[in-house]
């Protein structure tokens, strides 16, 4: 965006909000309340995504949702349920395909006040999200023999590597580590590695290292502080990003962002819809809130992001108003109100 900093910051930005299912609506409204209290220049456009059959019989997301996203370019999404045997692919997959969301970014930072055996975690996992082991191409060769195809392409590998280094540069990160298993999967992971190395040449200010997946796992559970930004293909990314989420406290407190082509970015909470507590004012909005903070940073609105994040962490550290999953017994609305109060007090 070629606008002067102040002009950009005082503009009102439209963001497409997809509340989702289950606890989605309540945590979304919690986030909107907090943003209002912080006077963030965000205008929300709520849309629903349910799979509909378009012309030609292909499943797609509703046209008004697509239109809104294409216009605003930024989305915030709550958890979507994946119905079994509904005949259509999962909504997350549809969104990924529609907007070519090629990078999944998960910053994992230890939350002071939410104790886990691991303190001082501060790393980011960047996972290629379109190909790799999740290509969905499988065949039964003969009865009893199945082959699954893992696809690695030059373009996708280069794109994710470029994004990883850009991210590192924009977020003052000092090193990028490519995670691979090229000793076994020589051609596929070898191609991925080569592309990462090529891109690393153009980003001399960022340190580039390579590490085997098993070594990363081994070292991660012993000393996660040695890692900074990790970039990897789809399957390793899936496993490692969840491993890192486990280090800081689970999916209920982990933010996540998906970056697509054409400047589209959708930030989301990665936990489930929790239908058992939906509508009971018991949900924890932290994951969605931290994803929204990530969104603010992506949009360049760093001060608002910092303000809201600090308020959220302060509330958790204080331990007075915690939701059940964080170890307290307060309501979602009380938790939200506490954060709003802190945000207002900060001004």
């Amino acid at each position: 965006v070629a606008m002067a900093g102040n002009a950009w910051r005082s503009m009102i930005h439209t963001v497409t909000m997809i509340p989702g299912d289950g606890i989605g609506p309540e945590i979304s409204s919690a986030v909107m309340k907090i943003f209002e209290a912080a006077k963030a220049p965000i205008q929300w456009e709520e849309r629903n995504v349910t799979a509909i059959k378009g012309p030609g019989g292909k499943w797609m997301i509703p046209p008004d949702a697509k239109e809104s996203m294409d216009q605003s370019k930024i989305g915030l999404k709550g958890p979507l349920k994946t119905p079994i045997a509904a005949g259509h692919p999962s909504m997350n997959l549809l969104l990924r395909k529609t907007f070519d969301l090629y990078a999944n970014v998960r910053p994992c930072v230890s939350i002071e006040g939410y104790k886990t055996p691991y303190t001082d975690v501060n790393l980011v996992t960047i996972r290629e999200n379109t190909e790799g082991e999740y290509s969905g191409i499988e065949h039964v060769i003969v009865d009893g023999v199945v082959q699954s195809i893992k696809l690695i392409t030059e373009d996708a590998s280069r794109r994710i590597a470029e994004y990883a280094f850009e991210y590192a540069r924009n977020n003052q990160r000092s090193s990028v580590t490519a995670v691979h298993k090229a000793n076994i999967m020589r051609m596929s992971d070898g191609l991925f590695l080569r592309k990462c190395r090529e891109v690393a040449e153009t980003y001399k200010d960022i340190k580039f290292t390579e590490m085997y997946l098993d070594t990363v796992c081994l070292n991660m559970v012993q000393d996660p502080t040695q890692f900074d930004v990790l970039v990897m293909p789809n399957l390793y990314g899936d496993i490692l990003s969840d491993l890192c989420a486990g280090l800081i406290g689970g999916l209920g407190v982990t933010p996540s962002g998906n970056i697509g082509a054409n400047g589209v970015a959708i930030f989301e909470s990665v936990h489930g819809t929790a239908p058992d507590i939906a509508g009971l004012d018991m949900a924890n909005p932290t994951a969605l809130l931290l994803s929204a903070v990530m969104m603010l940073r992506h949009m360049g609105l760093h001060e608002y992001g910092k303000k809201i994040e600090t308020a959220c962490f302060d509330t958790i550290r204080d331990k007075k108003v915690l939701t059940k999953d964080l170890g307290g017994n307060s309501k979602c609305s009380e938790f939200t109100a506490d954060i709003c109060r802190r945000v207002v007090d900060m001004d």
């Binding site: 499988e138 199945v146 392409t153 596929s188 070898g190 969840d242």
Partner: protein, 396 residues
């Protein structure tokens, strides 16, 4: 036991020279009385690999790269010190050569001896695909289909989690490690992951038999069948089929990303875990890290006819090679597993007890455990522990 395995065992028992040269009828009786076996296929008629001369076993030793050679030496010296009736046939494999002669010699040696102890062989992943991983070649040629790793929390080793006791059974020959790749179009590479019914049933059967023999109550299969519906779906189906034949052992399943998340938050919930090759790689390294690192956990690779023992996480340790700082525990415990396999439990127990007491009681720790001791300090401490228990050893 299957009919085929029973016939194999029987034919071994009636081979001249059976169990140390006893007459045939006594042999069967003696073998019949040996019930306890850690290898599930062996049961009560198992005979260990035939001893060579005068009751001494010959075992292939592949030092490998990095810290491998120094640790292999320590094992050899310790065995000599304890008068263990094992002779090592040293086979050096130069992993920098592209020719496969070295590794083929090693494979032939293991076919001859039936059992081996090895260090990790470095794979230069910048070489073209024609250069296959030497470790993988060993495993696939000898059909060592089961990788077993037992991760246990040790008192005296500082870790974030306590009371971990997980046995990991990993399919060792197929899955993502099939090394079948091609570039169909320039810039597009396809890598095949193969899952077969035969191998999945085999590894599941191995797991359940091992569970039974080691008193394990629950097996958790780790998979990603929600995405790889056919491949991991087949694996799960085979596991469930085998599970139905073992009603005394509980069976559940877990998706791999959830499994890793559970492992770092509450690893105590797992008893035994069973999985295909790649997830096994991830899970075994996570578990090894949780109990104290790569220097502590040994690994065993079992096949129908051969067994190969090594350090569980298969690291070369290039950065700490030849500095006398490597932790010898994993390698020594692997050699104890070897002795168990050779049916030399007294020696296995002696060395294992001394090694573990050095880690847990004497707390002589190398750098990877946060200590200052050198490898030779640890070895000396182990020798002292063995000497002090009284059995006949060479003089220090």
């Amino acid at each position: 036991m299957t009919l085929r395995a029973a016939l194999c065992a029987l034919s071994r028992a009636v081979r001249p020279g059976g169990c140390g040269g006893l007459p045939l009828s006594r042999t069967l009786q003696v073998c019949g009385a040996t019930i306890h076996a850690s290898h599930p296929r062996q049961g009560s008629t198992y005979t260990p690999p035939p001893a060579r001369y005068g009751g001494r076993h010959t075992v292939t030793l592949i030092p490998g790269d990095g810290i491998g050679p120094e640790l292999a030496n320590h094992v050899r010296e310790l065995f000599w010190f304890c008068c263990v009736p094992v002779d090592f046939e040293l086979v050096n494999v130069d992993s920098s050569l592209t020719a496969e002669d070295d590794i083929n010699n090693a494979i032939m040696s293991i076919r001859r001896n039936g059992v081996a102890l090895k260090g990790n062989l470095e794979t230069n992943h910048n070489l073209p695909p024609s250069y296959k991983s030497r470790n993988n070649l060993l495993r696939t040629s000898l059909d060592l289909y089961a990788n077993v790793m037992h991760c246990q929390s040790l008192p005296g080793v500082k870790t974030r989690h306590r009371n971990i006791d997980i046995m990991i059974i990993r399919e060792n020959t197929e899955g993502e490690y099939s090394s079948l790749e091609h570039e169909s179009v320039p810039g597009v590479v396809e890598c095949l992951k193969i899952i077969t019914r035969v191998n999945s049933l085999r590894i599941a059967d191995f797991a359940f038999q091992t569970a039974r023999q080691n008193g394990r109550r629950r097996i958790t299969a780790v998979h990603k069948a929600n995405i790889m519906k056919l491949g991991d779906g087949l694996f799960l189906e085979c596991c469930k089929e085998v599970a139905s034949g073992y009603p005394d052992i509980a069976f559940d399943t877990l998706i791999v990303d959830n499994a890793t998340m559970q492992l770092v938050s509450r690893p105590q919930q797992f008893d035994m875990m069973l999985m295909p090759n790649l997830y096994g790689n991830v899970v075994s390294n996570v578990c090894a890290g949780l109990v104290g690192g790569p220097g502590l956990v040994p690994g065993a690779n079992h096949g129908e006819h051969y067994a190969l023992f090594e350090a569980g996480t298969r690291n070369t340790g290039r950065s700490i090679a030849n500095r006398n700082s490597a932790n010898p525990t994993a390698m020594l415990l692997a050699s104890c597993l070897l002795l168990d396999h050779l049916k030399l439990p007294a020696y296995a127990h002696m060395i294992r007890r001394a090694t573990l007491s050095t880690v847990t009681e004497t707390r002589m720790h190398t750098a990877d455990l946060g200590g200052q001791a050198s490898t030779s300090d640890v070895i000396k401490s182990i020798r002292n522990a063995i000497q002090s228990t009284g059995p006949l050893t060479q003089s220090i």
